[in-house]
Structure formats: C-alpha cells, structure tokens
Symmetry: C2
Subunit: 311 residues, 2 copies
Amino acid sequence: MIVALAGGVGGAKLARGLAQIAGADLSVIVNTGDDFDHFDLRICPDVDTVTYTLAGKANPVTGWGLEGETWSFMAQTKALGGEDWFQLGDRDLATHVLRSQWLRRGESLTQVTGKIAAALGVKAAVLPMSDAPVRTRVQTASGVLDFQDYFVRLKCDVPITGLRFDGAADAEPTEAVEHALDAAELVIFCPSNPFVSIDPILAITGIHRRLKATRVARVAVSPIIGGKAVKGPAAKMMAELGYHVSSLAVAEKYCGLIDGIVIDMADADLAEDIRALGMAVKTTQTLMLNAADSARLAAETVEFARELRCG
Amino acid sequence: MIVALAGGVGGAKLARGLAQIAGADLSVIVNTGDDFDHFDLRICPDVDTVTYTLAGKANPVTGWGLEGETWSFMAQTKALGGEDWFQLGDRDLATHVLRSQWLRRGESLTQVTGKIAAALGVKAAVLPMSDAPVRTRVQTASGVLDFQDYFVRLKCDVPITGLRFDGAADAEPTEAVEHALDAAELVIFCPSNPFVSIDPILAITGIHRRLKATRVARVAVSPIIGGKAVKGPAAKMMAELGYHVSSLAVAEKYCGLIDGIVIDMADADLAEDIRALGMAVKTTQTLMLNAADSARLAAETVEFARELRCG
C-alpha cells in the first residue's frame, strides 16, 4: 500500500504515475484547504484535479478541469450578471452539483469523492484529508484573504506574509485516511506546493502525528527545479515567506517528517547540504511533461523509498 | 397596460405577440405550480419559458430551454450516476444556479425573475403569480404525484383523476401582480393548459377575486383546436377529467371569469353554444407556428378585447 499526499496539478501528475504501479493499492490523501463554496456549490479544486488526473480525463491545457470541456454555463452566467471570476466548465459542473446535493443529503466528502472517482473509473482511493472543513487563509499586509480570492481572483498578485488553516486544529483525519496511513508501506509527499497543498494536510494533528511516528519510509519529491516552481505560486510564496527558493529549503521544511527527498538533476549541487539534514537524496529528472514522465518518476521514487525502508 | 395569464409554450408564444404591441406595458402573470427543486436548484419551467420566449432566445425545437444550447452537464451527470430524467441545458443551468443562489440570499422569486428577464433584454414584466410556493400535484388512481414526476418522468402516461395546488390557499399574490391587475386595461388568458397552467393562477384567492371583480375586459384564447391540444397534455387531461375536449368546454371552465373567448376557425360551429354562455366569441386562426402568427393573434385578441370593453 502506497500513500501519497497531494494537492493540485504537480501532485496529481505524480499520483497518476504511482497509480500505474500500485493500482488500487494507492491511497492519495488530498488537500481540502482550497475548498470553497461558490454559487452555493461545494468546489474542491485539489480533490477534483487528483480525481480527473487519475481518471485520465484532466484537461491537459489548463491543468484543471476536464478534457473536452464546454463553457456555455459560464457564458450565460456572465450574461445574467453572475460572478465569472472562477471558471466552471459545463462537465465539471456536474461534479460540483452532484457533490453539493449528496453532501446536503448527509453523505461525507469522503463518500461523495469515492462515488465520483469510481464513476470515472479511478481505482486508487482518493481521500480528502478530512471530512471537516479546513480553509486556507492567506495573510497579507492589507488583511486576510480567502484562498481562492488570492489564488484565482487576485492571481496571487499580492505579497503574502503568512498562511493559516482555519479549522485544522479541530479537524480529525477521516477513518479512511487513518487506515491508509496505518497500512502504508511507504509515504510519498508529492511535488505539490508545500505551503498551500501539503501544509494544510500536515496541519491536521492526527495526520502529522502518524507521519511523524510511522516506521515506514517517507519520501518527498521537490516541486522546485533550479530555483523555480514548475507551475503555480510555490516559488513566489517561498521568497515572500523568507525562504531561499530551492529544494534545500523544501527539505528543511519537511525535516523530521521525511527520510528522503527526490530532487531534480539541475539541483544536484544541493544534495550534500540536504544529506547534512539527515535525509537521503535521489537526483533525477523531476519535470513531468507527459504520462511517461509521471510513470518513470513514480517508479524511481518508489524504488528510492523501498531502498530506504530496507536500509 | 395589458395583463396576460400564462403557463408554458402556448402562453409564451401569445405573450411574445402581446409584447410586440405593448412593450413594457405588458405584464405576464406566470404559473409557478410547476416549479420544483432538482439538484437543490429551483427550477421554474413556465417562468423560464415565458422569459426566454419574450427574450427571443427560446429553443424553437424543444419548446423549452434556450436556443443554441449545449448538453455537457447532462452527459457528465449521467456518467457520474446522477439523475438524468429532467433535461437541463448548460446555458439554462446558469438561470437555475443564479436563481437558487439569489433566492437563498433572501431575494424574492419576483425580484430574481425580474433580474434574469432584464439581463436577457425583456421589456415586459414577467411576474411569478406568487412568491409563496404553490405546487401542482396530480391525483391518479394509484396515488398523488409531483407535477414534474407526472409530466416529465412519466410523460403524462398515467390517467389522472384530479389536480390540486398545494399551498395555493395560503399564497398571496405578489404586490407586483396586484398592481398589474389593478392597473390592467385588459386581461388575456393565454392559450395555456387550463388545468395545470391557468388553474394554479386562479387558485390564488387574491388573483381570482380581482379577476372576478375587475371591470376591464377579460378574454381567453382557447388552447384547443378541433378537439386537440396544439402541444402537451391539455386534451388528454380534459378527457380524463370528464370534459368534452373542445373550446366549448374551455369556455365553460372559464365562465364567470372571462367576457370573451378567441377560438380557432376550425371550431366556428361552437360559437353559438359558447355565446349562449353569455360571452363574446371571436373566430380566427389560433395556431401559432411562428412569430408573425403570434403577433397577428395577439393583435386580433387585443382588438377583440378592446371592442368588448367599449361595448
């Protein structure tokens, strides 16, 4: 049983590679800190990105949403004077409408996510980190912003001073998450944004404690290549929060929670400093441009982790 | 000021013709007995048909929904195991999502309908008969059905024994409806289904009383031509409820509430019997196959009503 921690696009890509190795023996614990209500619908961007990517139905151009998408709903919403800052495709909308309906009827986010993933043919378990609401808030000099306000509406175009995860202190991991972590043979921190994708997961005490205490190998794949993030605001956030933008900083951030880290060959010069933190390092090509890249990186990461476990 | 009472397709077609005559001086009081909640969205079929038709954006093929519609949401909903017996187009969905959101925020159905109609360029006032819920229920030998269950899911394929309009006894007309009726120079009963489109409107005491007491001319356009309904189950319902399927039966049904009725020339032989009920009769082509038909029938109906008022 492989357990992966993931947020959006980068995490989903590695998860897809892991699913090729592990099939139904993969559980992906997914960040729900980005979740929000829009048009009275529950939107779960990271859960959906992971689900759609594992289903092989993700939109390869946008990095979010479904392939073959149409946009009639958004066009008409705009015509009617509704909010159009958050793009919802017509197919994607079915996910949000059904999820919202099922949640209102009393099903848990875990149950609903499982139904949607199964309907899309996903064999791996897509596990929201918690069924309780955790909401990422972005602290700035001029106040606290909801995550999607910052991420989508403002396109991250405001310096951040910190992040908080409202509700995380009271949020329990789900039983499915606990069972997955208890049954894990190895744990992989996907190359997702450490601050807004992985940190919300780690902010849940029951998850953090299990990750800290587990005796199985825990390996991260760094989302930083040559001082830059492949996608999204990870590098910008690191800089604004006072970190060096590098895989060394990622390793330092996860120190005590991981036994090894996979970094890009472009950052091979950092390996020695990272090893000095007391963790193993593997250097390879971490950029995933296609499914073959995902499969190869996943295989190398699993092999690296298995060697650590035997060591 | 012209006031029209309308349900779905046939009523909307005449309303469009009336709008060409009266512009903003037309108020259409629309049946809300068909309204229901689906996917936790408020669906108002007749209000939307009237609005879309007045906007010139109705789907000419289906008779409901918007022209140029796409169906990605429905396809994906089906793929995810959601209910697919009620068709919701992607553009149309924007209406339902925004209406539901605005209603939950405390706006009235009248306000929401006005916003949507205005955004679509409708100059006439589209007035839900009430802001309070009235729900048409269909009585059958094997029990009572929700209207959309009967109408869409079962395709009317079960004999009815009666109809009731839950909530109508407690429903007040809106202020907008009261003002429209008080300011009306003439009232037109559109060629909508008398049992499930017009009757729910008449079931609201405050509307029925005003229609009964008004001194302005009240004219109906019969939805029956040569013993058949142009569209929908009106003829089938009439027969099952023990009426003769004819414009005479329509006239009898509205007796005491109308001063005249427009019937199709195919039914000219009924004119004498209808006049014997104490109302005026105008015979013309009532079938509306296009916008020109609607405009002509509307003009003839208004002229007929104006003559009655002067008589």
